[in-house]
C-alpha cells in the first residue's frame, strides 16, 4: 500500500473530526444566547436534583466558555479539551462526566450495530447475487419484492411493529433493555443468552430492513456483469458455472458494493440510534434521547461527536482495506 494513499485517507479522517468538532462549536453560537446559561436556568426552574452543584457548574462553564475571551481563544480551548477526550460534565446528571456516560453506552451500540450491519450486508449481498444469476432457484424471485418494500421503512418504525407482535402480543422476547433488570453482568452463559434474547428484536428490525437494499444493488450488478466480455470468455473457456459465479461475477461486484457500504454507514448508524430509543437499548441512542429531553447540552454534543468519530474510524478502516479488494487503486494517483 503506497504511503501517500494511507496518508491521504488518514488526513481525510482528521478532516472529518475537525469539521465535526467545528460544527459542534459554532452551531450553538449561531444563536446569540448562551445555551449553557439557558439550560441551567431551565434546569433550575424545573427544580430538583441539580441544585447542589449549580454554583460550581456555572462557575466552571463560565470559565470554560470564557465569555470575556475572544471567540478564537474559546475555540482553541474547546479543541484542546476535545483532543483530551474531555466532554465536560453532564448537566442533568451533574457529578458524572459525559465521558463516563458515553463509555458505558458505547459497547452496547457497537455490539448491536456492528453485528447487524455486517450480517445484513453479507446476507443481502449473497441473496442479491443469487437472484441475479440465471441458474438460481426460482423461489428467490418471490423473496425480493417484500424485502424491497420493507427496505423503504426506517428501522425503528419496523421495530415498533416487531415489538408489538413478538414482544407485546406473543411475549417471546423482552420489551425493554439489554439484559434483565436486576441481574449483574457476569461472563456466564446464562447472561450471554439473556443479552442475545434482548438484542434479537432490535437486531432483526435492522437486518430485515437493510437486507433488501443490498440485495437490490447486488442483483442489478450481477445481471449487468453477465453481459461483459470476460464472462463470455470464461464461459467459452469451459469454466464451471460455480467458478464463473464466485471468481468472476461476485469478485468484480465486490468493489462497488464495498464503496456503497462505506457510504451507507452514516445512514445505518443514524437509523440505529432510533432503534435503540424504541427498544430502550442502553446505547448511545438512548443516552442521546434522554439528553435531548433533559436539554443536557454537553451530553448531546459529546454523543454526537463520539458517533461521528466512530463512523470516521470505520470509514478509515474500510478505506485502508479497499486496496486489498481493488489492486488497481495502488497505481492510481488522484
Amino acid at each position: 500500500m503506497p504511503i501517500d494513499y494511507v496518508l491521504r485517507r488518514v488526513g481525510f479522517f482528521f478532516l472529518i473530526l475537525w469539521l465535526a468538532a467545528t460544527l459542534n462549536f459554532f452551531i450553538p453560537r449561531l444563536s446569540s444566547q448562551n445555551p449553557v446559561r439557558e439550560r441551567m436556568i431551565e434546569q433550575a426552574v424545573l427544580g430538583g436534583y441539580v441544585h447542589a452543584g449549580m454554583d460550581q457548574m456555572v462557575e466552571e462553564y463560565e470559565r470554560r466558555f470564557g465569555l470575556d475571551q475572544p471567540l478564537y481563544i474559546q475555540y482553541f480551548r474547546y479543541m484542546g479539551d476535545l483532543l483530551q477526550g474531555d466532554f465536560n460534565y453532564s448537566i442533568a446528571n451533574f457529578p458524572r462526566t459525559v465521558r463516563e456516560m458515553l463509555a458505558e453506552a458505547l459497547p452496547w451500540t457497537i455490539g448491536l450495530l456492528v453485528t447487524t450491519t455486517v450480517l445484513s450486508f453479507i446476507l443481502g449481498t449473497l441473496l442479491g447475487a443469487f437472484m441475479g444469476w440465471p441458474r438460481a432457484p426460482v423461489f428467490l424471485q418471490y423473496v425480493l419484492p417484500p424485502l424491497l418494500a420493507l427496505h423503504a421503512l426506517p428501522y425503528y418504525l419496523f421495530g415498533m411493529v416487531l415489538m408489538y407482535v413478538f414482544a407485546f402480543k406473543a411475549g417471546w422476547f423482552p420489551i425493554f433493555g439489554a439484559y434483565t433488570a436486576g441481574t449483574i453482568p457476569t461472563p456466564s452463559l446464562e447472561f450471554v443468552l439473556d443479552v442475545v434474547r434482548h438484542a434479537t428484536l432490535p437486531a432483526l428490525s435492522i437486518i430485515l430492513v437493510a437486507v433488501g437494499g443490498w440485495a437490490l444493488t447486488m442483483r442489478a450488478m450481477v445481471v449487468t456483469i453477465q453481459g461483459e466480455d470476460f464472462i463470455t470468455f470464461a464461459d467459452a473457456k469451459g469454466l464451471k458455472g460455480k467458478t464463473i459465479f464466485l471468481r468472476y461475477a461476485i469478485r468484480n461486484t465486490m468493489l462497488p458494493q464495498a464503496t456503497a457500504f462505506a457510504l451507507a454507514l452514516g445512514q445505518i448508524v443514524a437509523g440505529g440510534v432510533l432503534v435503540e430509543v424504541v427498544f430502550g437499548y442502553p446505547g448511545i441512542g438512548t443516552v442521546l434521547f434522554a439528553a435531548i429531553r433533559q436539554a443536557d447540552w454537553f451530553l448531546i454534543q459529546g454523543a454526537v461527536f463520539t458517533v461521528i468519530v466512530a463512523i470516521g474510524l470505520a470509514t478509515l478502516i474500510l478505506d485502508l482495506v479497499y486496496p486489498k479488494l481493488d489492486p488497481r487503486i495502488t497505481y492510481r494517483r488522484a
Binding site: L19, V223, T224
Partner: protein, 317 residues
C-alpha cells in the same frame, strides 16, 4: 422480471448487443409518431413508475378529500375522548391527549410531505447549481465542492441536524423544520448531478455546441439541462424521501414542531406514551402505514425514473 430469460442469453455474448443498440432508435421513432400512445405503452413496461405515482396520488387524495369531510381542528388535543380504539364515530381512534387520529392523519400527511418537498427542492436546486459550477468550471472550485461533499456525506446528517435543531428548538415551525433539513439536503444531489455533468461535458453534441459559438451558460441551460431532466427528477424524488426520513427522525427524537400534527410528531407521541407496549395498536399503526405508502411510493417512482434516465437498465429490470 419477465425479462430474465433474455438476461440468461446475455451470457452467450455479443448477440445481445445489437438488438439492445437498436432499441433506442426504434423507440425514438415510436415516440415521434405517437407520443401519447408510446408513453402509455412504455408505462406498461416500466410498471414501477405508475404504481408509485398512484400510491403518492392516493395519499394526496386522502388528505384533500379528508380535509373536506373531516374537521381538522379535531387534530388538536382534548377534541375527543382519549384512547378510543377505532369505532364508528372515530374510524381511526384517538390518542392519549384526545386527538382524533383521523383528523391528525389528514392534517399531518400534507405537512410531512411539505417538509419533504421544500427541503428536497432546495436540496436539488442548490445541488444542481453547485454541480454545474463545480463540473463545468473545474479547478479549485471543483476541488472544494468535491471535498465538502465527500466529508459531508461521511458524517451522518441526522446528527448535525440534531445539533442544529437543539440550538433553535424554541417553537420551531413546520417551515423552519424544512429549512433545517434542507441544510444538508444538497450534498447527495450535488454528487450525483456533478457526475452526470462531467460525463455529459465530453459528449460530442456539447463539443459541437461549443464549436458553434454558444456561451457556457447557454450550453448549460439550452443543451445540458433538458438532457439532465430525468436525472434531476430522480434526484428530487430521492431528496424528498431522504428529507422526510430526516424530518421524522428529528421529530421522533422530540425535536420537531411540537404543536403540529405531522406524522413524525405522532410517532414521537407514540414513543412518549409507550403506545406499543400499552396495546394501543391503532395509534402507531396509522402513521407507520401512511409513511410506508409514502416511502414505497417514492421508491417506486425513483426506480421508474432511473430506468428512463438510464436505458441500460431497461433490459435488466
Amino acid at each position: 422480471m419477465s425479462v430474465t430469460p433474455q438476461v440468461g442469453e446475455g451470457a452467450s455474448g455479443p448477440l445481445l448487443a445489437s438488438p439492445a443498440e437498436a432499441i433506442p432508435e426504434a423507440s425514438q421513432e415510436l415516440v415521434k409518431s405517437d407520443r401519447v400512445g408510446g408513453f402509455v405503452r412504455y408505462l406498461r413496461r416500466n410498471r414501477s413508475l405508475p404504481i408509485g405515482l398512484l400510491m403518492l396520488l392516493s395519499l394526496v387524495l386522502f388528505s384533500v378529500i379528508g380535509s373536506l369531510l373531516v374537521d381538522t381542528e379535531r387534530a388538536r388535543p382534548l377534541s375527543v375522548m382519549a384512547i378510543q380504539p377505532p369505532s364508528r364515530e372515530l374510524p381511526f381512534g384517538s390518542d392519549r391527549q384526545g386527538r382524533d387520529l383521523l383528523a391528525v392523519m389528514i392534517a399531518g400527511t400534507p405537512l410531512t410531505i411539505r417538509i419533504g418537498l421544500i427541503a428536497g427542492l432546495i436540496g436539488v436546486g442548490l445541488g444542481t447549481v453547485l454541480a454545474f459550477v463545480s463540473a463545468y468550471y473545474g479547478g479549485m472550485v471543483d476541488a472544494v465542492v468535491r471535498g465538502l461533499v465527500d466529508v459531508g456525506l461521511t458524517i451522518p446528517g441526522l446528527l448535525v441536524l440534531i445539533i442544529l435543531a437543539v440550538t433553535i428548538r424554541e417553537g420551531i415551525s413546520v417551515n423552519q423544520m424544512a429549512l433545517v433539513v434542507a441544510c444538508l439536503a444538497w450534498l447527495y444531489p450535488t454528487r450525483v448531478i456533478r457526475a452526470q455533468v462531467l460525463s455529459m461535458r465530453e459528449r460530442a453534441w456539447v463539443q459541437v455546441a461549443r464549436l458553434s459559438g454558444m456561451s457556457g451558460p447557454e450550453i448549460i441551460v439550452k443543451e445540458m439541462l433538458p438532457n439532465l431532466f430525468p436525472y434531476l427528477a430522480a434526484a428530487l424524488v430521492n431528496s424528498v424521501s431522504a428529507a422526510v426520513l430526516a424530518s421524522i427522525g428529528l421529530e421522533a427524537l422530540g425535536l420537531g414542531p411540537i404543536e403540529s400534527p405531522t406524522l413524525g410528531m405522532t410517532v414521537y407521541w407514540v414513543q412518549f406514551n409507550a403506545a406499543v407496549i400499552n396495546g394501543w395498536w391503532w395509534w402507531w399503526l396509522e402513521p407507520i402505514a401512511i409513511l410506508f405508502i409514502l416511502f414505497v411510493g417514492l421508491f417506486l417512482v425513483s426506480l421508474g425514473l432511473d430506468e428512463i434516465a438510464n436505458p441500460r437498465l431497461r433490459k435488466t429490470v
